[in-house]
Amino acid sequence: MGGVNQDGVAVSFREVSRHYGAVKAVDGVSFDILDGEFFAMLGPSGSGKTTCLRLIAGFEQPTSGIVSIHGKDMAGVPPYDRDVNTVFQDYALFPHMNVLDNVAYGLMIRKVPAAERRRQAEEMLEMVALGGFGGRKPSQLSGGQRQRVALARALVNHPSVLLLDEPLGALDLKLREQMQVELKAIQRRVGITFVYVTHDQGEALSMSDRVAVFNQGRIEQMARPNELYENPATAFVAGFVGVSNLLAPAVAERLTGRKAHCSIRPEKIHLAAPGATAPANAMAVEGRVAAILYLGASTRYDVALDGGGEITVNVQNRDQHAEPAEGERVLLWWEARHLMQLAG
């Protein structure tokens, strides 16, 4: 259980494809998930991230390529013979069992004596802050509580890899943020490799050690969260992870002299009165405010650039500042290093 491999790789994909007829759900993907890592698979629905998770769990078999767990080829190994456990999207708690029996299910199957599995299950319920809930039926729990039971039911088996399929998707925003903190804390405590599937870039950035961004069955970029955000490799990543101003090559050429796809984050841009001088080594452009969106913590300005193109600017409402009104002319500037050049 939870064995450490010499090279420290928990899960490895080598040229893995999963096709359904003509549909290429996963298309020649290779990557390694390290031992003890919090690894997120991020992407829109239908991008292949959930299929990858199911390939690890054993609910799907690859059309071609090799999926291995701790160096062992998993071809033909059924889900019940794999040292991984899953937290399902809709929790999939057994409705006819109480919470304790749900958590103890894996131990019961492995024929752990009744008293011992009861003790372990209760201990695990304590860890997810559900001590004393063992006698209840899943139907008597709230969404957040069910989610914790599903987590406890998987973790009690001490798998070497825990798979989480959009586990926070059904929760409301406040609860989701709270659970993000807790999940991260639990992962640190148990030290198990977490593989986390989500379409929510905020979740992926806040919790993970590394993120793989999926698009149309392929990985667009795999990097640490800050790298992903500050240095997106492709236009898709720049647009999917956070908000980004994608500049068409023609617009970029006017600003920088180089004809390439570029992107700039809205919060990196400064707003100044027209005619003001931008610092040296900054890129500057003038435009007219087309729309203003007050967001509380910040204000969003959509600025139509002189000569075509539009840029969104996010200004923190740190103090009362002289706000440009709609239709007024403004100067935009940003430090040259914040302009990101994208492939493709």
Binding site: Y80, N85, T86, F88, F94, I109, R153
Partner: protein, 277 residues
């Protein structure tokens, strides 16, 4: 079905008197004859059903109790109903599990074949079984009656089981496998307990259906008489007519209890048993 088909803004007000009258007419139309059956179980007139009954007595219960032919028919019906129910539970559950789990060529046709016995008029089921038994040179017996009843009893269990399966999350099976259980363990610990009440409810309905079945039985029984056939024969005799009514009261009680139980077993779910036949 617990649908809220009625316009919600009327939910507090009561239905119009016309609708109420129609509903009461429907209830009386369905249930008044049953009351008469019970009433004539107590009449003192032993040859004809005159209204009002000339007098009331409980002696027919004693007479029925002492008739060995009544008990023979009664016990045959009970044995047939239990056997048909057992066959229906095993085969109906297996059929439902297979239909739910696998997709294969001709699946729709097989589904239709399973449902057919309850849709077909009993007389067709009866005649075809009779010719089949004749072709196979199988003598009529207790077993041929059971086989005949099992045909439509399977459907009842199948319908209940598959409805429950369709509503339960397929992720439950995956969750069980994920937690280390193989197919057999998953069936034993997850699928079966989830289906149990549906199967039990289906089985009880099957019992009730079998217990008062007469058409298919007519074609598949030899010299033996199940309770409904015995009653039918009894009606043609001029003497001790109220004995039939007493037997009918027995049938009512025996079929009513399982139907009621089936209803209570499934009322918390969407697939209330008995929405079939």
């Amino acid at each position: 079905m617990r649908s809220k088909a009625i316009a919600p803004d009327r939910s507090k007000g009561s239905a119009s008197w016309g609708l109420k009258a129609a509903a009461w007419f429907g209830v009386l139309f369905l249930n008044l004859p049953i009351l008469f059956i019970v009433l004539y179980g107590f009449t003192t007139d032993d040859a004809s059903y005159t209204f009002p009954p000339p007098g009331l007595t409980t002696e027919w219960f004693v007479v029925t109790w002492n008739r060995p032919d009544f008990w023979a028919a009664f016990w045959l019906s009970v044995r047939v109903a239990f056997a048909a129910m057992a066959i229906a539970i095993v085969l109906g559950t297996c059929a439902a599990a297979a239909m739910y789990r696998f997709s294969f060529f001709g699946k729709e046709s097989v589904t239709l074949l399973i449902l057919l016995p309850i849709a077909l008029p009993g007389i067709i089921t009866g005649i075809s079984l009779r010719s089949a038994f004749a072709l196979g040179e199988i003598p009529f017996s207790y077993f041929t009656i059971v086989l005949g009843h099992a045909t439509f009893c399977i459907v009842v269990v199948y319908n209940n089981a598959i409805a429950r399966l369709r509503r339960s999350s397929p992720a439950l099976i995956e969750a069980s496998m994920d937690l280390g259980a193989n197919s057999f363990q998953t069936f034993r610990h997850v699928i079966l307990p989830n289906l149990a009440t549906a199967i039990l409810a289906g089985g009880m309905l099957a019992f009730a259906l079998s217990f008062d079945e007469i058409i298919v039985t007519t074609f598949t029984a030899g010299q033996q008489e199940t309770l409904p056939i015995w009653m039918f024969g009894e009606l043609a005799r001029p003497r001790q007519r109220p004995v039939t009514n007493v037997a009918a009261i027995f049938v009512m009680i025996i079929t009513f209890v399982p139907i009621l139980l089936a209803y209570y077993l499934t009322r918390d779910t969407d697939d209330v048993a008995g929405s079939g036949k």
